[in-house]
Structure formats: structure tokens, C-alpha cells
Amino acid sequence: MVPIRAPELTAPADVPYSFCSQPRSLPSRPKYREQSNAAETEKGPVRYGNIMIDPRVVRGNVLSVRPPPPQVLGTEPHTLEVKRQRRAQRQVLARKFAHEQIQPGTPEPVEGREHVHVQTELYLEEISDRIIEVDGECQTDDFLDRPPTPLFIPAKSGKDVATQIEEGELFDFDIEVKPILEVLVGKTVEQALLEVMEEEELAQLWSHQRAFAELRNAEFAELQRLEEQDRRIREEKERRRLEHLEKLRKQKETAEKIAARAFAQRYLADLIPSVFNNLHDSGFFYDPIERDIETEFLPWLMSEVEETLQKKVLGRTMLDSLIRMVVEKRLDEFSHPPPSAQTKAPAEEPRAADAAPKMSGEADAADQPVAEKEETDQPVAEKE
């Protein structure tokens, strides 16, 4: 069945192969008629026929030597017949083989018996050689256009699992996560920035403060230096001023002293004579004998005089009392008859008696004449 081909032409050395006609695989016969639009729109996958059921392909062992087909003159028509015969033979053989294989062998009938085919089914069947023939016709419908290729939906396999998704649960993660992520990252970065800024701020503040502190210290030191200078100068000035004042004071004092001295000298120049005069006037310069006489002699003399006078007075007093006693006695003697004169007289008498000792008590010489006068007056009054 191998088609006899013209022997291949010897290929030139440079080309590996060359063919009269390129070997090609034959596509299968299309089932549907050529559609008008098919050629333009889709070339589609070229449908190659299944080479296994292609009748044109030789089957069987290709390596064993086959008897060459009988080469007879004018073999063309014969080959066809031979081919047909051979095919029929082969088919019979194949059928027999299959039949023999299928049919289980029934044992041969025993002697005297023969096997008869019997129908044991429910419904009997008429068996006849004559095959009931029924003529039937069929007519194909119009060739249809090739329908469009249905969607390839592979057969269902595996377990069925269902989920219920409610509204709002489905979301695109990348879109949804963006704000959250922004917030997270933002917060973290913000916190970090805060802390860094805090520290930076603090560092700036410290450097500021440091600079300020330096300036302040410098100015303060300057201030203190100037203060110190000022203090020194002031102290110096004060000291000098005090010195100067001291000097002036001393000068003034000296001048005053000199003036005072001069004045005093002049004032006291005639002091001594006046002093002597005063003293002399007040009796500080005395004659001792005179003083002596005055201080001692005269008091003695006076006391002696006083004594003498007292004696005199005493004598007079004694006399007075004598007189008095006499007078009283006389009065007593004369006073018995008139009681009123008696009472009056003793009243006057005590008065007179009182007056007399009182007067006699006065021992002064100057008062003696007065006392005597009074005494004499009293008796006069008494008498009256």
C-alpha cells in the first residue's frame, strides 16, 4: 500500500534533504462544508486527522519482509481486485477469531443426543433465514453551519464549598490598607519626629542659653570689675577726703588753741591782782591774832556773859515765883467769901501762873524787861 514514489533525487552535498514535494501531514476531511467567512476570519487550528485511524497509513509490522505484491502486466485493475479479496479474507479471519474468542465452548453432545438451540426467553422469536428486511430511508438535513465553539467548561470536580460574603466585606486590600498604613507610618514618624525635635529644640535652647550665659557672665564680670574699680577709687577718695578733713580740723584746732591761749593770757593778766583783792576782801588774809581773838575769846566771853545774865534771870524768876506764891496765898485767904470771884480769880490765876512760868522760861536778857512788863501787866489785869 505504500505509494510508489519516484525515486528520490540524489541530494546535492550541501543540502541535507531535498524533496520533490515537501512531506506534509494531511489534514482530515472537514465534516462541515467550507464556510465562506471561515477562510478569512479564522484560520484556526488546522485539524489534522488522527493518524491512527487513517486508512491510508500502513498497519502492522513494517520491518518484516513482505512478499512483494504480484507484479503482473496490467496489474492495475487486478491489484484492486486482489486487494479487495485480500481485505475480505482478512475480515473473515478477524471475525472468526473474534467469534471464537467470544463464544464459550460448549461441550460436544453426548452420543445419541444432539444439541438443539432452544429459545428459553419469555417471548419467543421466530428464527428464519430470511432476514426481515425493512427498507428505510434517511435523508440528512441540510448541512448546518458550524456552530460557534462552545465555551470550554471543564467538568466539575472536587468538593463544593460555599462562602457567603456580605456587603462591604469584599475589599481591595491594597486600596484599603493605604490609609491605615499612612496613619500607622505617619504616627510612628510623627512620634519619632517629635522626639527628635524635642532633642533638637533642647539642644538649641541649651546652646542659646549657653551663649546668653557667656554674654551675661562677661557683662557681669565687667560690671564687677567696674564696681571694684569704683569701690577702690571711692575708698581712695574717701580716705583722702578724711585725711584732708583731719588736716583741716587739726589746723583749725591749732588756730583755736593759739587764739584761746592768747586770749586766756590777756584775760588772766589782771587775774592775779583781782584774785588777791577778792580774797583780801573776803577775809582770807587775816591777822592770826585777831582771828584768834575773834574765834576763841569772844565766844567765851559771850558765853560767860550769857551765864551771868542767866543767873540774873534766874534770880528774878525766883523772886517772881516768891512774889507769886505770896500773892496766891493772900488771894486764897481773901477769896473764901465770893465764890464767883473765887472761880474767876483761880481762872485768872492759872492764866497768870501759866504766863509766869512761860515768861520765866524765856531766859534771854533782851526779853527780860518785856517779860517783866508782861508779868506786871498780868497782875494789873488780874487786879482789874
Partner: protein
């Protein structure tokens, strides 16, 4: 039903050590209640959350308005060290904001913190000193620190504490000493500071010199400084390689040399040559202070004689971009040229 929590596992950045914050304005009141609760874990978590919130000034304002400071003061004496540490951290963060500082001074946190000066935990002490340092930068704060009688303990601590804490203490002392000096002098601050002037760390040296500067700006401080023979040490620091130390020591000298004894002791310590080198450097920050110190020395006759030869150094200073330096240079020149 869809729930906001997508999975049963919490997202990986939720911190289990922090309390959950309520939304918006309710966050801080809820934290306040949690702080006062009796359970230790709640208190710790609330403190951790508070630490993060306190970076925001608005939250600080709200916290102080809500009266957080009282509950925090109570927590300062808690037995657990984490609680104390975190409380001091919160307070130090609050002190970084001006509202916070005012609130802290008003509510008397300073006196509550005095007890923490001897705390065994380093971090607590460091935070405490940070709070003092920040507060002392305000005049009211410095007054508060003085009133709480903190100066003698701080001076004592200077001898024994760690280096970082010493820096903070020196800062606090400088600011307080600007206001009043008698307590510190009574506690022997000048001796301690003189010791610190020879410390290996640069920062401590410069801060100690700055503290001496503040001391010598007062009259009694100057006398004390001269008595303790600090001036030769300061003169030796003038040759230090670090610029901050130079600035601070020239500043301290600037104040200390106002008194006559100071000046004579400085002349004795040969202060003029290093000061002249400092003046000659164009970019030195200590230039201003050095010029002022030399002005002081020029009022002495020997100083004037020496400086007459170096007049051109001052002439060059007149070209300095900073106005203060120019003024100082002019004044220096007038003083040098003064004839009695």
C-alpha cells in the same frame, strides 16, 4: 461576621509590657486609676504606657491637670525598683517640657525626690538628678532646690557618685549657686570642686570650673576661692586642650580676679601668658573671657607693664565678628593705656 481582629494571634508589635490605652481623652484618666491600683503588674504596665505618652506636650498638660503628680509622688517610695525607676523616668520626661517643670515645682516634687538620692538603683538616682538639673535651670526651680535644703547633700554626693551623675550634680549646683552661695560654702563646696578640677573626664572638669565661676560671682565666694588657693589650679587649666574647659576656667578666673587678693595670686601664678595665647586664637570661644580677665589684670601696675608690650593682640581682637569681643577689646585697651 467580619471582626476587626483578623486572626486569633495578636499583631507582632503589640507590647505585652504596656497597658492598653483607652481611646482619646479617656486614656490618661484610665492610666491614673491603674496607677493607684494595688496590683504590681498593673502599675508597672501603666507606667510603661505613660512613659511613651509623656513625650507629647499636650499629654503632659493633661496629665498635670488631672493630678497625676500626686499618684506619682506616692509611687516614688514604692518597694519595687522597676516602679521607682519608671516613675523617675516619667518625671524626668515631664521636666523636659516647660509646663511639666512648672507643675513639678508647684506640686513640691523636689522634696519628695530628696529621699531617692540614696536609692540603690543607679538609674533611679540618675533620673532624679536629671530632674533636679532640668528644674534648676529655671529660677523658681533653683529656688525650690535651695529651699529643700538639697545643696549640702549634693555636695556630699559629688565625692561619692558615678561620673555621669556627677556631671548632672555639677550642672544643678551651678544653676543653684547662681542664686545663693552661703549654704554651699558652708558645706565645703570649694574644696570638692577644686578636687574635681583635676578629674580625667573633660565634661566634669569644665562643669566644675563653671560651678566655680558661679561661686565666684558672689562676693563671699570670691573670698573663699582666694583662700582655698583655687586660682593657681584654674591657671593651670588654661593650658588644657579641650575648649570647653578653657572657656569655663577663664570665666571662673574672670570673676575671681575682681578682688585684689585674687589678682595678686593670679600674677603670682603667671596667668598672663596662657591668657594671651587664648586671646590670640581667632576661633576660641574663650576669647571674650580671656580679654575680660586680662582687663582685670591690667589694673595692676605690673600687669599693665606686661600688657603694654602685647597691645597688638588686643588690636587684632577689634576685628572679631562678635560685638561683645570688640567692646571688651576696646575696654581692655582703655584700661591698659590709662595713666594715673
Amino acid at each position: 461576621m467580619a471582626k476587626p481582629r483578623i486572626s486569633a494571634y495578636l499583631p507582632p508589635d503589640i507590647d505585652p509590657t504596656k497597658a492598653a490605652l483607652a481611646f482619646g481623652r479617656r486614656a490618661l484618666p484610665k492610666l491614673n486609676e491603674e496607677l493607684q491600683s494595688l496590683e504590681l503588674l498593673t502599675q508597672q504596665r501603666a507606667l510603661m504606657a505613660l512613659c511613651d505618652l509623656v513625650h507629647d506636650p499636650e499629654k503632659v498638660y493633661q496629665a498635670i491637670a488631672l493630678g497625676f503628680l500626686d499618684s506619682l509622688k506616692n509611687l516614688l517610695v514604692h518597694e519595687d525598683q522597676t516602679v521607682r525607676q519608671k516613675t523617675t523616668e516619667v518625671l524626668s520626661l515631664m521636666a523636659l517640657h516647660s509646663i511639666g517643670r512648672e507643675g513639678l515645682i508647684r506640686s513640691g516634687v523636689i522634696s519628695a525626690l530628696t529621699g531617692l538620692l540614696d536609692d540603690p538603683v543607679d538609674l533611679c538616682r540618675k533620673n532624679t538628678h536629671q530632674i533636679f538639673d532640668m528644674l534648676a535651670k529655671l529660677p523658681e526651680g533653683a529656688g525650690g532646690v535651695l529651699q529643700a535644703g538639697l545643696i549640702p547633700p549634693l555636695v556630699l554626693k559629688l565625692k561619692t557618685e558615678l561620673d555621669e551623675i556627677q556631671e548632672l550634680i555639677l550642672g544643678t549646683l551651678s544653676n543653684c549657686l547662681r542664686v545663693e552661695v552661703s549654704e554651699a560654702l558652708a558645706a565645703g563646696a570649694v574644696t570638692v570642686l577644686k578636687e574635681k578640677l583635676s578629674h580625667p573626664s573633660t565634661v566634669i572638669r569644665s562643669k566644675a570650673a563653671w560651678a566655680l565661676l558661679e561661686i565666684s560671682s558672689h562676693a563671699e565666694g570670691k573670698i573663699e576661692v582666694c583662700k582655698e588657693e583655687v586660682i593657681p589650679v584654674l591657671v593651670s587649666l588654661l593650658e588644657d586642650t579641650q575648649p570647653e574647659v578653657q572657656v569655663s576656667s577663664t570665666g571662673a578666673l574672670m570673676f575671681a580676679l575682681v578682688t585684689p587678693q585674687g589678682r595678686s595670686s593670679a600674677m603670682g601664678a603667671e596667668a598672663i601668658p596662657p591668657l594671651l595665647t587664648l586671646v590670640a586664637e581667632e576661633t576660641s570661644k574663650a576669647r571674650l573671657n580671656a580679654i575680660k580677665t586680662l582687663t582685670l589684670l591690667a589694673e595692676l601696675p605690673e600687669g599693665r607693664q606686661t600688657l603694654l608690650e602685647h597691645r597688638d593682640a588686643f588690636q587684632r581682637c577689634l576685628d572679631d565678628p562678635s560685638e561683645a569681643v570688640q567692646r571688651a577689646a576696646e575696654i581692655a585697651l582703655t584700661v591698659i593705656d590709662w595713666k594715673p
